[in-house]
């Protein structure tokens, strides 16, 4: 989570494509593969479905920060982004070891069928223990709106540099239905089982596989 949050900060802080690709490549090289696969999923629009409504998040955040609800709403209106507003208003420093990206996302997925009270307890705990930046990224995963100026193409280019597999081949392997919960980094990107090629919608890719 910490590494991924730092990546998001770097991506957010630069307008230069080369720097974005370099930061992504470094992340894909250094992050544990289970986390890297979730990062690929998030950056290719495969996000866990939202376990709580934003209305609930707003109410809980106002409660936690002890701010009157109108002031919370005004702050949200001015900041313009709920994930960021909550990250700014909950003033906690974060603990030494946040959960890994994989664990964090899988916890969010597991939240869906739980009761409102259980969801609240989990989310408030995360808000109180994550750092500002991690809290922002956590909220972004929770609300599902991750726009950080990285296209899937750019992400694929960086991934290609990190794993040394041709960009077009990777683009093909990333197509279709897959989830980090049912596949691994190696299976999906490095050693896909052959039958995938028969499912391919683009025949001219076959010979490259």
């Amino acid at each position: 989570m910490r590494r991924f949050a730092a990546l998001i900060e770097t991506l957010d802080g630069t307008n230069k494509t080369t720097k974005k690709v370099a930061a992504l490549t470094q992340y894909f090289k250094e992050a544990p593969k289970v986390d890297a696969l979730w990062a690929v999923a998030l950056l290719s629009h495969r996000r866990p479905s939202r376990p709580v409504t934003t209305t609930l998040m707003r109410t809980w955040a106002a409660e936690l920060t002890k701010l009157p609800e109108w002031l919370f709403e005004e702050s949200y209106h001015i900041v313009g982004d709920l994930a960021e507003t909550i990250a700014l208003l909950v003033q906690k420093e974060g603990t030494a070891s946040p959960p890994s990206l994989k664990d964090c996302i899988e916890e969010i997925i597991a939240l869906k069928p739980k009761t409102e009270e259980e969801k609240k307890r989990y989310i408030l705990h995360q808000w109180k223990t994550l750092s500002h930046l991690e809290r922002f990224v956590f909220n972004k995963i929770l609300t599902g709106g991750f726009r950080i100026g990285v296209s899937q193409k750019l992400m694929t280019r960086a991934l290609s540099k990190a794993v040394r597999v041709d960009e077009t081949i990777l683009a093909h392997r990333l197509m279709g239905q897959w989830s980090p919960q049912t596949t691994t980094f190696d299976q999906l990107l490095l050693h896909p089982i052959l039958k995938i090629k028969f499912l391919s919608p683009i025949p001219f890719f076959w010979h490259t596989l």
Binding site: D12, W70, L71, I78, V79, D81, L89
Partner: protein, 333 residues
């Protein structure tokens, strides 16, 4: 009749016939600090803290200006005035006015954080507190500035390693000197834009700064490689900036607290560093004055006043011509 009232020319003390930070020319003006929305041209006589005297003379030309020490009291027609440290920029003062036991304080701009160049903010007891509220929203909470200065030096060192010039932008009076004071000269040389250099020269007699060198048309791109340039934000994207060669741009401002604002600025690095009080700073300052009445003058005035009203103060807002958006002053620099 209130001791201080708000007129079309500025904050007015009728008993003493003086204005505080007037936005039109008047006979006698008490000035809180040297920023252009507070120290305006056209008054016959200015009274301010002595550090502001050369700043006013630099900005307003030949004006009649008297300097006072902090806490030095002086009377005008029975009203006792004094200047008290506001911690905003060098020379910045709160203005205290007392008449027949009633005390009003006008803050100008202030911050409760230490910046290493301004005399630290001191709370002043009063009945009515006229306060700025530029960052009067709970989303604004500043980090420890030493951390920000470390980030700036790290950014510079990383650029130095790539032989790229670091262009660090901030407001010419206060912010740039605060940045300069905390730069690590062992990383490289520090160059300045004309506006920055002039204001820094004005302040050098009061504050010990690292050495700077003015950029002239003769300065080559080659000598700037790996070094740092201090300049006002208006240079962003200008022909002047293009002459610096390959640069990494950095901008220091409280407004950089928001992701959206950072993206709009489109700089390579944004540093959240403000010379205004944040939410906690404003609240702690108000509590420390022991005041009953609060008048908010610029910034998120209405929201801040509403919050204060709900928490036991008698607060209202008053429209003034002080820039609530520091960005406006920045682009005018």
């Amino acid at each position: 009749m209130p001791l201080l009232e708000f007129t079309s020319k500025g904050i007015y003390c009728k008993q003493a016939d003086v204005y505080l930070d007037p936005w039109r020319g008047v006979d006698k003006a008490l000035i809180s600090h040297g920023h252009s929305d507070h120290a305006r041209w056209g008054s016959k006589r200015y009274i301010t803290h002595h550090t502001n005297v050369p700043i006013l003379q630099h900005r307003l030309g030949k004006v009649v200006v008297t300097g006072k020490k902090y806490k030095e009291t002086f009377r005008i027609n029975g009203v006792q005035f004094s200047f008290h440290p506001a911690g905003h920029v060098p020379g910045s003062s709160q203005i205290r006015a007392e008449y027949k036991g009633e005390v009003w304080v006008f803050t100008g701009d202030y911050k409760t954080q230490l910046d290493g160049i301004s005399t630290p903010y001191e709370p002043v007891h009063c009945h009515t507190f006229i306060t700025e509220s530029t960052f009067g929203l709970p989303v604004f909470r500043w980090e420890d500035p030493t951390k920000i200065h470390q980030q700036i030096n790290q950014w510079w060192a990383a650029n130095q390693a790539e032989q790229t010039c670091s262009l660090l932008m901030g407001y010419s009076l206060g912010k740039v000197q605060r940045l300069l004071k905390h730069l690590d000269p062992s990383i490289g040389k520090i160059y300045t834009h004309g506006a920055t250099e002039q204001m820094t020269e004005v302040l050098r007699p009061f504050i010990d700064f690292p050495k700077t060198e003015l950029i002239t048309p003769a300065t080559s791109k080659k000598v700037l490689e790996g070094n740092l340039v201090l300049a006002p934000p208006a240079v962003m994207g200008s022909a002047w900036m293009k002459k610096l060669g390959r640069v990494s741009t950095g901008y220091a401002s409280g407004w950089m607290a928001f992701r959206g604002a950072r993206r709009r600025r489109a700089v390579d690095r944004a540093f959240v560093l403000s010379d205004h009080a944040d939410w906690e700073g404003l609240l702690s300052a108000i509590k420390a004055t022991g005041c009953e009445n609060v008048i908010t003058t610029h910034g998120y005035t209405e929201l801040f006043a509403q919050y204060l009203n709900e928490h036991g103060w008698n607060a209202r807002t008053q429209k003034t011509q002080y820039a609530s958006e520091t960005e406006e002053i920045l682009s005018a620099e």
